[in-house]
């Protein structure tokens, strides 16, 4: 049985597209979405890119551009993006028997039918969700990622690029003229070390001896070499982090078929995510959990759920509770799931979240209580108290609120308006 091609389906400026879906005035105008901790750009519409707005730029530096060119900013609305992400993954899953969620707006799928099948996905996501996506199709994830990038860079592809349709010699030329630094999963540090071995372009790396690369660098980079040759071999495993999301996913050695074991898996992943959040001094408000069946196999299923946590948290108890409550009940009985993952988003530095939430979960209170006790034991009574004084600066928060759109799809009180006029 030959494997189908691999496609990377990636939403274009996903957060901006989510904002546009409920606010048609944003269509055709330059729009950015800002991180909610420090007001930096985390998503840009094509129009904003054309204005030269860089990723990660602080909003205050863009005031002049905003005034001159009508650049519009929105605070990140992770509750909305989380819901639309789950919808998007479900819709993409309809087109494939095999799906691996890679981030909040990207998934790899097995795909037969080449560019025509890619266009069907692009049209489906547009029609059913109003979300524009790009599709890169190749024989390995690394090459699918390159194809996707190429589709995005060249409007003539209309969002779908299948490397199988490239003219002879095209890929060779492409790889020869692009640096390894642009490869998926290759860091700047690795690039400099590779240069020491005379490996500069993607083609240099593809034609290197993968056993030597494995010895000099890592198993991971050796896999990239094989992927560049078109061999599909990179499993999506382990933790990943981007500017605004933290991802943990793994394949299982034995398939999971029942909710109890999936709950155990979710507990482990959630603790891992909590650990990483703490290491980075971050707390999260939204979580997406998913699992999926294998590439082969008869019964296919890729359930995915999003959860809004009661407060921003890095508490393992809270995260484990969320992950184990949400996903396991969604499994289809007698189905063999081979991988699962969680993504936490809406990340803010610990301590910067609004202090006076309506209520704080019990475990959080308990921990806070322990900490307060420890501080008082050491420094005497009255050295530490509960309250909002001095914990954060209100103006910053006020600014963030001003640009935050409603949670249109997850709160009854926030429904978008249909004018009858």
């Amino acid at each position: 049985m030959s494997r189908p091609a691999v496609a990377l389906v990636d939403a274009n400026a996903f957060y901006v597209s989510c904002e546009r879906l409920f606010d048609p005035r944003l269509e055709g105008r330059p729009v950015v979405v800002l991180s909610n901790n420090d007001g930096c750009v985390v998503a840009r519409s094509a129009e904003a890119k054309q204005l030269g707005v860089p990723m990660g730029e602080p909003w205050f530096k863009l005031q002049a551009t905003a005034d001159r060119h009508g650049l519009i900013a929105r605070s990140s609305n992770y509750e909305l993006y989380g819901d639309l992400s789950v919808r998007l993954m479900e819709v993409i899953g309809r087109y494939s028997a095999w799906q691996e969620v890679y981030s909040i707006d990207e998934s790899f799928i097995g795909l037969n039918g080449g560019a025509a099948a890619g266009r069907a996905i692009r049209d489906g996501a547009r029609r059913l969700l109003g979300i524009p996506v790009s599709v890169g199709i190749a024989t390995s994830k690394t090459l699918a990622k390159l194809a996707n990038k190429h589709a995005k860079a060249h409007p003539a592809f209309e969002g779908v690029c299948d490397l199988a349709e490239a003219p002879p010699g095209w890929l060779d030329n492409y790889l020869a003229t692009h640096s390894v630094v642009d490869l998926w999963g290759v860091a700047g540090r690795t690039t400099r070390r590779l240069a020491g071995y005379g490996i500069h372009s993607m083609k240099d790396l593809r034609d290197a001896d993968d056993r030597q690369i494995r010895r000099w660098f890592s198993v991971v980079l050796a896999r990239t070499v094989r992927e560049l040759r078109g061999e599909h071999c990179i499993p999506l495993e382990g933790p990943r982090a981007t500017r605004d999301q933290l991802i943990y996913s793994r394949s299982f050695s034995t398939p999971i078929t029942d909710a109890d074991r999936m709950a155990q898996v979710m507990a482990v992943y959630a603790q891992n995510a909590a650990q990483r959040l703490r290491r980075h001094g971050l707390v999260a408000k939204t979580m997406t959990a998913w699992c999926s069946t294998s590439w082969y196999g008869a019964a296919q299923d890729h359930p995915s759920v999003a959860v809004s946590l009661p407060t921003h948290t890095d508490d393992p108890i809270e995260l484990v509770r969320a992950a184990t409550a949400a996903l396991p009940p969604r499994l289809t009985p007698d189905t063999r799931y081979v991988r699962a993952g969680i993504v936490v988003t809406d990340l803010v530095p610990r301590g910067s979240q609004p202090y006076l939430e309506p209520f704080v979960p019990l475990s959080e209170r308990r921990r806070l209580g322990d900490t307060m006790q420890a501080v008082e034991d050491r420094f005497g009574p009255g050295t530490l108290g509960l309250g909002r004084a001095g914990l954060r600066t209100p103006p910053e928060w006020a600014m963030r609120r001003q640009m935050l759109t409603p949670h249109y799809t997850t709160r009854w009180e926030h429904l978008p308006v249909a004018r009858a006029a």
């Binding site: 993954m89 409550a325 978008p416 249909a418």
Partner: protein
């Protein structure tokens, strides 16, 4: 789908694409499962969105100020369907009418004007209204 369910202290926001249509529930054999409105009214949960009505231009269609509309993007808008269309940067609910060489968006209240365009392609239609939830 859109109800907020309190599950062990966690607000589940949406749960989609997880129960394949037609998967037999053990309880179904005995006709014991309580009616699930979401399942009855929403054919494609991923493609269905809820909107709140503001205004009285669709009262003739039984759509009143404050009602909640279920809007399904997976349905092709037929002539005479009630649709949500983007007009001047706002989503507006109207009855679609496809004539010979023209398309109209018609209110169902004589106090409001009809909007006429040359073809469907000139309209941005969000989706088709399938149900209206009205508090009596």
């Amino acid at each position: 789908m859109l109800a907020r369910v309190a599950a062990s202290g966690v607000d589940e926001l949406w749960l989609l694409g997880t129960v394949p249509a037609g998967y037999p529930s053990p309880a179904q054999d005995y006709g014991a499962e309580r009616i699930d409105l979401t399942r009855q009214l929403i054919k494609d949960p991923s493609a269905t969105f809820l909107f709140r009505v503001v205004g009285d231009s669709m009262e003739g269609a039984g759509i009143y100020d404050g009602d909640v509309l279920l809007i399904d993007r997976s349905i092709e808008p037929s002539s005479s369907a009630v649709v949500l269309a983007s007009i001047d940067g706002e989503y507006t609910v109207k009855r679609l009418h496809r004539g010979d060489g023209f398309v109209e968006l018609r209110p169902e209240n004589p106090r409001y004007p009809v909007i006429r365009v040359d073809g469907l392609s000139e309209l941005v239609i969000f989706g088709v209204v399938t149900y209206c939830i009205h508090h009596v």
